[in-house]
Symmetry: C2
């Protein structure tokens, strides 16, 4: 076991630029968009939806990329693996994540497909519905694993969404091996209830085989994983299936379980819910920043709630503020 | 005189995509950026500043484009002339302005230079400092004037910034002639105190010759125009030089003068100043929407203050809400 860590957290995920616009609920229905979900779309549908989309703003996104940016904003040392193309959006993505202080060196894809983008429609209730064209993300594979980063990070964190592209899961297994061989921990987010539905058995196997130590989920992902309508039943099941799990419940806060231990954390009080994009990603950011800096589970949860609470009061998936400074002012650091 | 109007306002301006990030005041000093101003930069400096810039968001901008989008959001009928390139940012710009309901048919430039972008640094006090690479905007010229739009709009509105690219002023003179020949009015914004300093004599000539009927300015632009430190002296001078002028004074509201008439309008009370980008553009949007729908000068000013007040409470130059709906809820429509 290597006792030197170069990074607190290595994040691995789909490198996606978000295109965010407001719409009403009728628009989602008329366009067959599943509300609150991540809808996968092809290039043709991406063009069609963009034509129908209102005026938008663009911001770097992607679940694990948002988490990496969040941890870096707290002052944590992070790295990211993800595949962009050598195009305008790819340059934008690389700029934003590096400018946040995240080490990002995955080779961009030359030629097509282009950098991934997700058209995110935000309804008046603040809920976001994503429509993701994976583009260059489909090319992420084992060759993109920088083993020194996986073995040199306290936690390697990845998104369940990586089971959608064809070879990213091989990159994850390779990263997890390198991490565990160096005595590190591996963490994942279940990403989305429909994603869980697509890969339920594989996700359970990752947990039960010990490939994954720490799991992040929200209530509906947990219920989907265990095909139960009972939150409590889901919680007891995940308690047995992984070493540590943090389950978020929107305004009801989060519950963290580790062995016999159970910690409940309140959600942060907010002024106005603007856009839920990035909420789960930033919860994971706050939690993992706390976790890798040796804080209690309750403090990890509070940092998660804080970061999530900030990001849902703005448009876009990454907080437009300095999380370290804000958390310090709030007495959390 | 043609009594049918196809548009309430035709806006003409530099078609620019904004790249917005936060920074502290030291960054501006260290990088030689004039605070609060529009700094013109070349491609090389654009690359350098982007490298030094923090994580950003992208949003369609450009002064007159923001005004067009704002008027459309109020429900006004608008058209826009502006030059983008046939590249990613150009498509983004066209999408956003059309999706807002603005008629935008200027032919994109094939090849280089690329679509214009402005790196906008927002300091903790909410002030924005712009660094604009004009790119394809330098190609806007008389050939881009769609005369039916200029003659079919109640008001043709343009930005003083158009005196920076080489041939846009010819497009403006042509548009103004078409507008006046059809009995319409022509309006301009002085844009920026340094811009006024570059083109003072030309701007005064536009007003004194009657090429421009309605002028928008802020306090520092007004003072720069008449090279005076007295707001009152500036106001009396502009009263004589154009038929109608609206002068904004940030939190002190605005003053509208028309002949002997003087109307003072309060600024909208806001919760928190986030980013002043677009404030003047949205004041003009509210004012011109009110003006072209036959409202009193006081009501025009109130609509301007309202739109400006909303846009400075968010990041980015165009309100991420429906201005018509918000104004109706506030009892202004």
């Amino acid at each position: 076991m290597n006792s030197n860590t170069e990074y607190d957290v290595l994040c691995v995920g789909n490198a996606i630029v978000d295109i965010l616009a407001r719409c009403d609920d009728d628009f989602l229905v008329a366009n067959g968009i599943v509300k609150g979900a991540m809808n996968l779309i092809d290039a043709e549908r991406a063009e069609l939806l963009y034509e129908r989309m209102g005026p938008a703003i663009e911001a770097s996104g992607g679940s694990a990329g948002n988490t990496a940016a969040g941890i870096a904003s707290f002052g944590g040392r992070t790295a990211f693996f993800g595949k962009v193309a050598d195009d305008h959006l790819g340059k934008l993505y690389r700029h934003d994540i590096r400018a946040q202080g995240v080490a990002f060196d995955t080779d961009p894809l030359a030629g097509t497909p282009p950098t991934a983008r997700s058209m995110i429609f935000v309804t008046p209730d603040g809920e976001r519905s994503m429509n993701t064209y994976l583009g260059a993300c489909v090319e992420l594979g084992p060759v993109d694993v920088e083993e020194n980063k996986a073995s040199g990070a306290k936690v390697t964190y990845f998104e369940g969404y990586l089971w959608d592209p064809p070879r990213a899961k091989e990159a994850i297994r390779l990263s997890a091996e390198a991490a565990h061989a160096a005595g590190r921990e591996v963490s994942m987010t279940l990403s989305d209830a429909f994603c869980v539905d697509r890969y339920r058995e594989e996700f359970l196997e990752l947990m039960r085989s010990g490939t994954v130590d720490i799991v992040f989920a929200n209530e509906s992902e947990l219920k989907s994983l265990y095909q139960t309508s009972s939150f409590e039943a889901g919680l007891e099941a995940i308690r047995k299936d992984c070493r540590l799990a943090a389950v978020t419940r929107s305004e009801k806060g989060s519950v963290i379980v580790r062995g016999e231990e159970t910690v409940e954390v309140e959600a942060m009080a907010i002024d106005k819910l603007v856009d839920t994009t990035g909420a789960g990603d930033l919860y994971a950011a706050g939690f993992l920043f706390g976790y890798t800096s040796g804080r209690s589970l309750a403090d990890c949860g509070r940092l998660g709630s804080f970061a999530a609470g900030l990001v849902i009061q703005q448009i876009g998936p990454r907080p437009q503020c300095d999380l370290r400074q804000e958390a310090a002012q709030a007495g959390l650091l």
